[in-house]
Assembly symmetry: D2
Homo-oligomer: 345 residues x 4
């Protein structure tokens, strides 16, 4: 940490800061300059040290130097993490495409979608049983019954299932039925939930919070990994900006940057990011070109009747076209596309 | 809802939309214009109707007309709500000042702070027993022990207690000890938690989510009220913007606007909003001038040793000065300042 | 500046950075720590030094320590600046209220408004002759004719005139007619214009750019002052955030913060900030409570016929009420309200 | 436009609005609903009509239906625009790569860079002679001398030149030396400049403003085209968000969306968008996959000595690698890569 003193700080103020740092068991180094004095504190600086000094008289600022995350950082961990979800490897050479409806609405709807996406080449089935909705008056999912339907669709198609869990009390039942637990954007800093999914040991798909910085996102991942569960896949799904034309602002440069900061795999959700069907294909290609390890796509057999997120859902035919484009793109990126482990029923 | 067709939409496309609206049991009205056709759908439009039509061929957009919240809206409810917290009335003529440490750290720290703020004129005691922290390595509160200390401080000072609850499983124990349950910014769209605090029947202090629009904030309040619990106080605590100089961007115009949209009381947290001690006093005055019903202030007996949020905590002396300024300001705003029901011990 | 090396940076990488700093005529200090080495460079660091080192191998970041502005900073200048506009002093004890129409539309409209606001107690007349409009199809002002009308209104009422200048070529003609030159939010980083108004020697009202940080805003002021013109009044007018309910997000904490960083006076424009007539009064009071030296208010004799910004313009009656509230508030803030130097005609 | 009345609006309030609309020569249609009345106004609604009604008693909102831009819209113009810059066609089948230094620093620096990028396959030379800088103390370009050097580099390499113009007074001299005029992000709403470059008739590279919505960006393009100059290339270069890890947030979905809203070509500037050298290659590939017609890349022979933007500049070797990747990607996107019209000297 670098503690920056005011240009006119008195000697007494400097001494108070030095004493304060020592009281907290750190070693300060005085760094005199032309304009002002700065004080370096190096070592394992707890972020709280900043809080202890930044309000002292004569202190202009205290600038942390180390990143606050460790387990998820490339600086402290060699090699890249590959997360395995019932045989599907995320983070290796192969690009992974997950697909399915926004919400599980019925056995027929889910089964039709699951068979369609499996047939087109998806290797993971997505679908929400518990839906977080901004309004209490919107459709909020089938709950436990939705989980049963997902498990049945997995049997039918062989596709492992990723689904969202909303609250710690539901982690057990979701973990029983699903192969990967999704933590959604609104829960990205629900720390009790992060610890609960960490303890479950299941692979976790961790969406970036709507207004979370990359550092906060990685710290949320750190919460999961700190429970001994390294099976975390980060998922960029758009952040909130001033732009009203799209549902969110997809931050693809974050994907490229996170791959330099962390060894965890990264996927992208172009459906929620844009909220516009016509943008899902170009943003899928852009995400993979930016370095994403996979994408997660909303598909619905009849999008205009979908109980949620119809406007951004692809038809099965559009999804088939998307898979064709992904297959065409992959070699130009030096990658291959993961194929289903088990043929669709 | 107004469905806007493309300027070149075919008659067939228009007919498809009209049929679609009727299938969903709504009555469309065709509105021909010079440039394009629009289709009005009036009545109780479920937000999902938008989803059903916005992806149809020839549709440019579907614009909702009604606000999605009801219970919390001034349009559907006459008069203003006053929330009573163990005798302290929030939302009436009187301005309410809540104060206390960011986190409960020890019996001594809490007791000293509680007595100081009660002595200076605060009427509610704040203090965190369960702390949400961005990093898993930060101090996260004393938990149940912190609740005990808060209850003891209430006995000592007579001040009702407001404290944060992080997860539905903790609602019972927090409701047992505290007089008002705070839902923090990171949980503003933790819908399971909103429903749990709604069911508790306790007064709720609902902070605005870091990147929540005013409409989303009111919908979160609607979640609580929809459980039959109208005792909700909204709390503006700064939103996330591009500006790095302060912790958050305090949106005081939102306070004035929310007072026209909703009958619920509104408080402001200038400590978290700015993160800078020197700004707490001016922003307290500004908040009250903007129409807030009260403020919630962080005070610590020794801020530079605080385990969290030291840089934004006031000393007891600074808080005493703040109370003096509030007392001086109130008459100019046509308001009075709530006085403690019970004298400090 | 503090140059932070990677935890695993080689000795050779460190030496390269040290040599590089010396080549640029700075003196590096090596600061060894437990986890990593950092390199301090103190003195007058040109911001460009950061650019020279941040791309070198092994460098994680280079963190500037000094603020990049000097002339406008409280750190380098004692006392507060008072800007005098034809006898009206901004930045002293007195609160200053400027008012007038968004755009000058006609002699009758301007004269009626000017007389009304002068009668109610405004001490500066605002009004746009050159209007920046997002769409080329909106009304863009009367230009030179508008300037004539403003000068005539000044004669009529005695109120000094503040009006916007859009481009360097217009600075001379605007300076001839007006008493204070306004640089609008879209031109806040139009550096050619900033230098031109600096050279004019006239008082400048410098609005904050729609997405400018406080540091960028102060650097824009530095552009003007660097031309030898210290008569700069900063004006907060709302920043762009994700919130769609209001035209902009008024950042009143920035007002309080800027008063600690800079000796320049600060005014607030609650009309443009909110875009909603009903919010102008509460945000005026909040701005003054936050420490603003004055406000600038849009008033129109018939807002629903205004050629621009009608929805946020006050009627003369509403403005009279606003002045009454300002007079009532000022003593509680320890301030007085500036009175017109010359009685209205 | 749809005028939405309050649920409790009186008949008199409705009649006032109807009369008001008719006075402005529009035809209102009353749309009675279950909850409230709405009033449709269809035809060529001037945006100002909204202003005229939104402040009337009983009016909740007035929602515009038409897009405010015409010339640049796909709705009113068939086919796609191809902008030709001295033989280089932007917006057709071929992907266009522009490259060069951030700032022209000297004849040697520019010549070395120009020859390197021409040799590697760039077809346009970029380089700033007039540099907008946040701080008045940063290097601000060589001005007219820089233009001469750019013209000389064009002779040497055959590459057409794109360079920024900062103020209307400079448009003539820049247009004399350069083949394409760049309007930078800070001037995206400098309307005097937009009209001046429009009148020049030269091809224009129009960067998106730092916090401009897509609609505002297209309206800025409309300013240029309304002068009779259709040779506008839009350039996405990152918007401002809350994320501090990168210089800006590159909004690639905006590229895909703009291609559906407008017939104008779109390029992307990944260098300014990210500010980080290592992200330029992945974001170049992502931009092209998203549908961009080309990219503009900063290259410097010795980035660590660059007078501006060194940290984001590529070395010539890195640029050669980038071109190889672009050539590899193009066929997978169904496109080809533009080749230099004239061989490098």
């Amino acid at each position: 940490m670098l503690i920056v003193m005011n240009a006119h700080a008195s000697r007494e103020e400097v001494e108070t800061v030095l004493a304060h740092v020592r009281e907290h068991d750190h070693t300060p180094t005085e760094l005199p300059g032309k304009e002002r004095i700065a004080i370096g504190v190096f070592g394992e600086n707890p972020p709280s040290l900043r809080d202890f000094v930044v309000g002292l008289p004569g202190v202009v600022d205290a600038i942390p130097v180390s990143k606050p995350y460790k387990h998820v950082s490339t600086e402290w961990h060699e090699g890249r993490t590959v997360v395995e979800v019932r045989g599907v490897r995320i983070g290796g050479e192969e690009l992974v495409v997950a697909a399915g409806p926004c919400a599980v609405e019925s056995g027929e709807q889910l089964s039709a979608t699951a068979r369609a996406v499996a047939g087109a080449g998806a290797v993971l089935l997505r679908g929400g049983a518990y839906k977080p909705r901004t309004s209490p008056y919107s459709f909020r999912g089938l709950g436990a019954q939705g989980l049963e339907l997902l498990a049945r669709a997995r049997e039918e198609t062989g596709l492992p299932v990723v689904t969202e869990v909303l609250t710690p009390a539901d982690v057990d039942i979701v973990a029983e039925h699903a192969d990967m637990l999704q933590v959604g954007t609104r829960n990205a800093q629900n720390f009790a939930l992060l610890e609960a999914v960490g303890q479950s040991g299941k692979p976790v798909l961790l969406k970036r919070g709507l207004s979370n910085t990359i550092e906060e996102w990685l710290l949320s991942a750190e919460y999961v990994v700190a429970q001994g569960n390294r099976n975390v896949v980060l998922c960029e799904r758009g952040i909130r900006s001033f732009e009203p034309a799209m549902r969110n602002t997809l931050d693809l440069a974050a994907v490229a940057l996170v791959r330099t900061l962390s060894h965890l795999p990264v996927m992208v959700d172009p459906s929620h990011a844009t909220g516009i069907r016509a943008l899902v294909l170009p943003m899928t290609l852009a995400a993979l070109a930016a370095g994403a390890d996979g994408v997660i796509i909303e598909v619905h057999p009849d999008p205009d009747e979908a109980l949620s997120d119809g406007p951004q859902s692809l038809t099965p035919a559009m999804f088939t076209e998307l898979m064709a484009e992904v297959l065409r793109l992959a070699p130009a990126l030096g990658r291959t596309v993961a194929r289903p482990a088990v043929a669709a029923g």
